[in-house]
Amino acid sequence: MPGFSEPLVRGRQPAWMLSLRWRLLAATLLALTLALVLAGVFLSGLFRDHVVRQFAGSLTAQLDQVTARLDFDPAGQPLLDPQTLSDPRWTRPYSGLYWQVDAMGDSPRRAVMRSRSLWDSELAVDDDALADGAVHRHEIRGPDGARLLVVERTVRQDTLAAARWRVVVAADLRATEAAVDRFNGVLFASLAVLFVLMCAAALLQVRLGLAPLGTLKQALANVREGRTQRLEGRFPREVQALIDDFNTVLDRNGEVVARARMQAGNLAHAIKTPLAAMAQEAARTQVQAVEPAGLAALVREQVDVARRQVDWHLARSRAAAAQGMPGALVALGPVVEGLLRVMERVHAARRLGIAWGPPTQDVRFAGELQDLQEMLGNLLDNACKWARGMVRVSVASVGDGPVRQVLLVVEDDGPGIEPDHRAAVVARGARLDESVPGSGLGLTIVQELAGLYGGQLTLGTSPLGGLRAELRLPGS
C-alpha cells in the first residue's frame, strides 16, 4: 500500500497524502460521490413529489364529485345516493378508493356516512384548522394498513346552517409508490453507471496528467546510472522550469568535479617535484656519503616549496569551488569583527591601532561566508603585517537601483606598494619583500575569489601613507 513503508521521520501521514495519484483520485471520488448522491436524492424527491401531486389532483376531482352529489335531508343530515357515483371502486370492499363524511363541530362524529368500499372501518383523519371550502391533504393508514392519500373539505348545508360536515376522500398510494420505486430503481442504476464511467474517466485523466512524472523518473534513472549527463526530454511547462533548474545544478556539479580533478592533478604534479628533488639528494648523500648538512638545507628548502604549492593549489581549489549560491547573504559586521579578534591576538606584539567603525545599516555580502573570510582575512593580515602602527577598516553598501555592491576598504600606514609593482604582486605568488613571513599568495587569492563573484580588487595609496586595498563584491 503506498506510503506504508515511509520512514517515521515524515510523521504518520495517511497514505493518500503522500501520493499525487491518490490525492487526485481521492478528491475526485469524494466530489463525485457527493454530487451524485445529492443529484439522486433531489431527483427522487422531485419525482415523488410530482407523482403524488398528480395523484392528489385526480383525487381532488373525485372529492369534488362526491361533494357535488352530497345532499341534505330536511333535518339537516347529509344524504348521498351511491348510485350517483360512477366509479365501481366506491362499492367494492377494500378497493382502495373510499369516501367518508364526518360531523364536525362541538360533538364531532366520524364516519356519519361512508362508502361501501370502506365497509366497517373508518378513515381516521386528524382534525385541523377548518377553513370552509379549502381542500386539505393528509396521508394516513387505512384498512389493511395500506397507506392512503386523503383529501378532505369541510362543508355546510348553506351559509346559515350551524352544522359542519367534512367530506373525506382517500385512495391507496400503492400504485403511486410502485411507480416511484420503479423510477428510483432506474435512477439508481443510471447514477451507478454514471459513477463508474466518471471514475474511469477520472482515472484516465490522472494517469494522463501524471504521465510526465513517469518520463521524469526514467530520465532521472538515466542520469543516476550514467547513461546521460542531464535530464533529457520535453516536459509540460509546469515541470519544465524545475527540470531546467535541476539540469543547471547537474551541470554545475559536473564543472566542480572536473575542476577538482584538475586541481588534484595539478597539486600532485607540483608536490612530486620537491619530493623528487629530496629523494634525489637523499640518494646522493647516501651513496656518496656527502655531508648531510647539505641534505638538511635542501629538505628545508623543498619543504618550503612544497608548502607554497599546497597553499597555492588549496587556495585555487577553494576559489574554484565558490558556487555563489543564490540567496545566501552574509552580514559583514560580525565577519570583520571575528577577523579583527584574530588579528589582535596574532599581531598583539606589534601594538597596532585598528580603526573599525561598524556599519550603520545592514551591509551584506551575496556569497559564501568562507570566501568572504578568506578575502578579508588576507587583506587584513597583509595590512597588519606591513603597518607601522595604524590600520583602518570600513565597509559600506554602494550602488544605485537594484544592483547593489558592498565596498570593503582596508588601509595601513606601512610602505604601500608602488603603482608599477601592484600588478606583479597580485600575479601568482610574487613577493616584494621576503623579510616578512608568509607565502605571498594573499592578494592573488583575494583577486581570484573576487573575480569569481564578479567583483574587483583595486590597490591604491591610502591617506594614511600605506596601501589602500579596495574590494568590491556583490551584496545588498
Partner: protein
C-alpha cells in the same frame, strides 16, 4: 616552563617533544583529546601546544572546555587547515595563536616564548628587573650589560622568576614547572640552586618570604 604537547601523529609528536625539551621546557604529552582535556584541567602549565585533529575529542572542543573550566594558560594551535575560517574559529574558541603545518621548529619556539611572556603581561621580549636583564630570544642574561653565565637549571629558575617579577613563587610551584615528573624532585634541590643563583646575582635580588617562597626584587 611546563608545556603540554597534544599531537596525535607519533613521529611529529616525538620530534616536537625533543625540540621543546631541547629548548628547556618540561613537556607533558598526550595523543588524544580525552587525556589532553584531563591534563589541561589538572596540571600546572605555562603553555599548551594543541593540534586540532585529535581522536576521541577534537582539539577545538578540548580548548573550549578548558576555557569554560577557567583555565587561562596560553594555547598555540597547530592546524593543517590554513583557512581564515578555521583561524577565526580557533581564536574564538580561546586560542592565543595558531601555526599552520608544516612549520619550522624555530617558529614554534619563538611563538611559544612570546605567548608565555605576554601571558604574564610582559610586552617586550627583553625582560628587565633592575640591573638584571634576560633576552628571551637568545637566552642571554646580563647584569648591567655584562653577561652572566648560568647553568641550565639556574637559567630555568631565573627565567621562571623573571616572568613573575615582584610575585611570590612557592617552592612547589617552582618544582612543578621546572622539573619533569620522573626526575628526582627533592625540595632541597631548589634551595641549592637558589643559593647558587644568589651567588651570581646581586645580593637581595632573590628574597625569601618565610613559609611562602621566593620573590624576585629589582635591585639597581
Amino acid at each position: 616552563m611546563r608545556v603540554l604537547l597534544v599531537e596525535d601523529e607519533p613521529t611529529l609528536r616525538a620530534q616536537l617533544r625533543a625540540g621543546l625539551q631541547e629548548a628547556g621546557y618540561v613537556v607533558e604529552e598526550s595523543g588524544n583529546g580525552r587525556d589532553a582535556q584531563h591534563l589541561g584541567e589538572t596540571e600546572p602549565l605555562d603553555a599548551v601546544v594543541l593540534d586540532l585533529g585529535l581522536p576521541l575529542v577534537d582539539g577545538l572542543t578540548v580548548l573550549k572546555r578548558w576555557r569554560a573550566a577557567g583555565r587561562t594558560m596560553p594555547v598555540l594551535i597547530l592546524t593543517a587547515r590554513d583557512s581564515w575560517h578555521e583561524k577565526v574559529a580557533g581564536i574564538d574558541a580561546g586560542a592565543d595563536d595558531y601555526l599552520a603545518k608544516p612549520f619550522h621548529m624555530e617558529e614554534l619556539l619563538a611563538r611559544l616564548r612570546a605567548l608565555i611572556r605576554r601571558a604574564q603581561g610582559l610586552a617586550s621580549p627583553l625582560l628587565q628587573c633592575g640591573a638584571l636583564s634576560l633576552d628571551t630570544r637568545t637566552g642571554r642574561v646580563a647584569l648591567n650589560g655584562q653577561p652572566v653565565s648560568l647553568t641550565s637549571h639556574e637559567f630555568k629558575l631565573l627565567e621562571y622568576l623573571m616572568h613573575r617579577p615582584g610575585s611570590v613563587v612557592s617552592r612547589t610551584e617552582l618544582t612543578e614547572h621546572i622539573y619533569a615528573q620522573d626526575s628526582d624532585r627533592d625540595s632541597n634541590t631548589i634551595e641549592v640552586f637558589i643559593g647558587r643563583l644568589r651567588r651570581k646575582l646581586p645580593a637581595a635580588t632573590i628574597e625569601t618570604v618565610r613559609g611562602m617562597g621566593y620573590r624576585l626584587v629589582a635591585v639597581a
